[in-house]
């Protein structure tokens, strides 16, 4: 797969798209923009401030009073448009790389549809809530399935997620706990496959992406462990959900599988220099950041670093992740503004 990837020949197929994505990245909100946004009193103020950024007048034609969910939809639509433009212009191997990015949204959509069907929601209502980047054919047919084997045979086998689903067919029926297990198993297989794909591409892409994906794998392992304390998830089941492409594999993962409480998880993380500092400042006291926030910050830092090198695919992945973080930030600020509860309005994570 050496083809389009060595330094001088990267630009033949991908030069325009790299220039374009760096142009989009230059429009990501900076600290000054966030300082302006936190001073808004109403959502209308927010809309006016966003007009002077790269978003422009994306809310201009909204009828009626603004609500946070409308802003969320519009922000997401802009990201989807930009991604689809880039995906349409790309050729192999970039197009496969971009497809891998969409698989995580497909996994979320499948789980959303199954959970919604369990709670007797209508399919059309659920389909409207699905993430546009993760749409696949026959989404509506999920309403008719009742076991994972049926789900696989009727729907999943035609989607790109088929190879990730093979471990899940043996789950007996679809209840709340099993759906989470299915989600985490799918995601584990997807992450490991993506990691392999990036290593096959080699070069700078492998260097940048494998670092980012290793952190993603370790972060999932830590969060799964912490969230499973006090639930019915057994330690064996839990250890089957850990992705193996991170730095914690294999010793850290087996130590995590044996841990019983937060302090033991922290002790495992202390063996790894980057993760030790993440646990140090975290806590539930009023002045501290939560562990999730520190993990998000570290992810943002890794994604910003990927822009320091040229001629690799990591910039496309990092742009999507940074834009998602920006959308989370704007929605957090909008919620604080809309509910007039401004004590925690500065808890967004600045990117640039």
């Amino acid at each position: 797969m050496g083809g389009g990837m060595s330094g001088p020949s990267f630009n033949i197929d991908n030069g325009y798209l790299e220039g374009l994505i760096r142009g989009f990245k230059n429009g990501i909100l900076t600290r000054n923009d966030y300082l302006n946004l936190v001073q808004c009193e109403t959502l209308e103020d927010l809309k006016v401030h966003l007009q002077s950024t790269d978003y422009g007048s994306f809310l201009a034609n909204e009828p009626g009073p603004l609500s946070v969910s409308v802003i969320d939809d519009k922000l997401r639509n802009k990201l989807v448009l930009e991604f689809q433009h880039i995906r349409n212009q790309s050729v192999e191997p970039l197009s496969t790389f971009l497809d891998y990015i969409t698989y995580s949204y497909m996994i979320d959509n499948i789980v959303l549809l199954i959970t919604g069907t369990l709670h007797q929601r209508s399919i059309s209502e659920l389909a409207a809530k699905c993430h546009p980047l993760g749409i696949f054919e026959q989404m509506e047919a999920i309403g008719a399935v009742s076991t994972p084997a049926e789900l696989y045979n009727t729907i999943i086998v035609d989607t790109p997620l088929a190879p990730f689903f093979l471990d899940c067919i043996f789950v007996q029926d679809l209840d709340e706990m099993n759906i989470e297990i299915i989600r985490n198993t799918l995601y584990k297989n997807y992450l490991e496959e993506f990691h392999n794909f990036c290593q096959q591409i080699g070069g700078i892409t492998a260097d940048v992406m494998c670092e980012i994906l290793a952190f993603e794998a370790d972060r999932r392992a830590i969060i799964i462990t912490i969230n499973s304390f006090g639930t019915e998830l057994t330690k064996d089941d839990r250890s089957k959900l850990y992705p193996c492409c991170g730095k914690l594999h294999p010793e850290g993962l087996s130590a995590l599988a044996r841990s019983d409480d937060y302090d033991q998880v922290r002790a495992v993380a202390d063996y790894y220099a980057e993760y030790k500092v993440l646990f140090e400042g975290a806590g539930n006291n009023p002045g501290d950041k939560t562990l999730e926030d520190k993990l998000f910050e570290h992810e943002v830092k890794l994604n910003v670093f990927s822009f320091l090198q040229q001629f690799h695919f990591g910039v496309f992945y990092s742009f999507i992740k940074l834009k998602e973080q920006e959308i989370r930030n704007i929605i957090w600020i909008s919620e604080c503004v809309a509910q007039r509860h401004r004590t925690k309005i500065d808890n967004y994570i600045p990117i640039f």
């Binding site: 330094g7 001088p8 630009n11 030069g15 220039g19 374009l20 760096r22 142009g23 230059n26 429009g27």
Partner: protein, 213 residues
């Protein structure tokens, strides 16, 4: 995955067979006391000076054009991509394209200058002294062409990569462009070094029909 393996096994088999046959031939000549027949020196002298000279001229222009073309497409695609969100960069960054083009111009100057040094001669009536001059001329034009071609090839690639970085960072922050241009000037200088050495190599060269005295 399977087809990749078949192709790589295929090529490994073919290359080992070829290497084996070459080693066999070499050993045959060595062990049958016919080593003198493998005469590299004779080969180099027997190739006519015209061939050396014109291959040199060809290398000079073609390798320079490969370098310039690589540089132009590397920089050009980045300028086009970056100019979508930052249209102001498009005019200033044409300087990088001009630097790449200069590399091709060095190549063509060298090839025209050296091609004009070559005339036809009649191998039956040429004097021995003139023949020595002709052989010298052939070798020096070949050497000059190789020097200029290869140095322009890498110079063009270098200017292209730096120009691409210059365009993308200009799109992000306009103050950076002039500083990065200095890097490009250094990159462009190495092509010039190649031309200077090439001119030195070919300055005394000529291939001419000498009158037999």
């Amino acid at each position: 995955m399977g087809s990749e393996n078949i192709i790589s096994i295929h090529s490994q088999v073919i290359s080992s067979i070829v290497i084996f046959l070459l080693v066999l031939t070499g050993l045959f000549f060595l062990l049958s006391d016919q080593g003198y027949r493998f005469d590299v020196g004779w080969l180099l002298l027997a190739i006519p000076p015209h061939a050396w000279a014109f291959v040199g001229v060809g290398l000079s222009i073609s390798l320079s054009v490969v370098g310039a073309a690589t540089g132009i497409y590397i920089t050009g695609t980045s300028i086009i991509g970056g100019a979508v969100k930052a249209p102001r960069i498009k005019t200033k960054n044409l300087i990088s394209i001009i630097f790449c083009e200069a590399v091709a111009i060095y190549g063509i100057i060298m090839s025209i200058v050296t091609a004009n040094m070559v005339e036809d001669y009649d191998p039956l009536t040429v004097s021995a002294k003139q023949m020595r001059q002709n052989v010298f001329g052939g070798f020096s034009i070949f050497g000059a062409g190789l020097t200029v071609g290869l140095s322009n090839l890498f110079c063009g690639v270098c200017v292209g990569v730096v120009g691409s970085g210059a365009a993308l960072s200009d799109a992000a922050n306009p103050a950076l462009f002039v500083k990065i241009l200095i890097i490009e000037i250094f990159a462009s200088a190495i092509g010039l070094f190649g031309v200077i050495v090439g001119i030195l190599q070919s300055s005394n060269a000529s291939i001419a029909p000498g009158a037999s005295t």
